[in-house]
């Protein structure tokens, strides 16, 4: 059974690009346009999400808020979360760590780098 990755980004281009790259490697991909949408989709899912890839700057609920909410839930305390953001300041990275992210990739990124990062958490 293939593993499921939730991609959360308000840019349709990034969502399409990530979906294409990840589906090409055999992963199932779910998408959400912001943190709130992601939480709603996760709560209505019958299967669990194996990994989350999220942007930081998003309307309604940003990436930090999403990570904190995910870490508070029993079910997803251990789910790997990769931040994908154009924010590359030390403060952003440290805030990402404190919120509970597993990795942080800076946009624009190479798809090979992202796939390597994903394969670190999913076999």
């Amino acid at each position: 059974m293939s593993q499921t990755i939730l991609v959360v980004d308000d840019s349709p281009t990034v969502v399409k690009f990530l979906s294409f790259s990840l589906k090409g490697k055999g992963y199932d991909v779910l998408t959400a346009r912001d943190g709130m949408d992601a939480l709603e989709k996760m709560s209505s899912l019958e299967t669990s999400v194996d990994l989350i890839i999220t942007d930081l700057n998003m309307p309604n609920l940003d990436g930090y808020g999403l990570i904190e909410a995910v870490r508070e839930s029993q079910e997803h305390q251990e789910t790997p979360i990769i931040i994908l953001s154009s924010e590359e300041g030390v403060e952003d990275r440290e805030r990402g760590i404190s919120a509970g992210a597993s990795s942080y990739l800076v946009k624009p990124f190479k798809s090979t780098l992202l796939l390597t990062e994903v394969s670190k958490y999913l076999n």
Binding site: D10, S11, T13, V14, F17, F20, S21, D34, L56, N57, M58, P59, D62, S85, S86, E87, E88, G89, R93, E94, I97, A101, S102, S103, Y104, L105, V106, K107, P108, F109, K110, S111, T112, L113
Partner: protein, 197 residues
């Protein structure tokens, strides 16, 4: 009261009214000064941001065109290669045919890598969209400042426009940049590795 006293009182009253009116004007101009100065500072910011978008979209487009050029050159070679391959197979030169198949596979693989690189380059759309949102928010800020000036001048343009256009929610990184990378991935990874230890 003597006639001259009446005239003097009238002059005094008019001078007082004039002074009050000038004081009011000075206060109004002071009120205008700040939004005008802020607008003056923000216009170049918005212009710089738009110039950056123009430069970065151009660079990204050139990068992609270079990769497409390489792909099409390889495709030409592939087409010619398959014709030669067919001839070699028909002539029974299997060793040469195998060598050509390896070469064709290598070119196809390079094309695949270049296609992925083009896809990576297409992220410029996300980055420049954020840069445009930043420029738009600067322009919206200028608009607000100009509205303040119009309000101070007793103009009702602002309320008419505000009623027409709902403000757009913008979520963007003001530092988003396609090429100007300030940190490398190794530094970021080491920060996360330390956390996990």
């Amino acid at each position: 009261m003597a006639a001259s006293d009446k005239v003097q009182a009238k002059i005094q009253r008019e001078i007082f009214e004039l002074t009050t009116s000038i004081a009011g004007l000075v206060a109004s101009f002071k009120k205008l000064k700040r939004p005008l100065a802020e607008s003056h500072e923000k216009v170049p910011q918005a212009t710089d941001q738009l110039d950056k978008i123009s430069e970065q979209t151009e660079a990204a487009a050139h990068q992609m065109l270079d990769q497409i050029e390489q792909i099409t050159q390889r495709e030409d070679e592939l087409i010619k290669g398959t014709e030669h391959l067919k001839a070699k197979i028909q002539a029974g030169e299997s060793e040469e045919a195998v060598r050509m198949i390896d070469k064709i596979a290598e070119m196809a693989n390079n094309n695949l890598n270049d296609a992925y690189m083009i896809m990576d380059s297409l992220q410029f759309q996300d980055i420049t969209a954020q840069q445009m949102d930043h420029a738009a928010s600067i322009l919206e800020d200028i608009e607000t400042k100009l509205d303040t000036i119009l309000d101070a001048m007793g103009d009702s343009v602002r309320s008419d426009r505000a009623a027409r256009v709902a403000p757009k929610t913008r979520a963007y990184d003001p530092h988003a940049d396609l090429f100007d990378r300030k940190t490398n991935q190794e530094d970021i990874d080491s920060l996360f590795d330390k956390k996990q230890q």
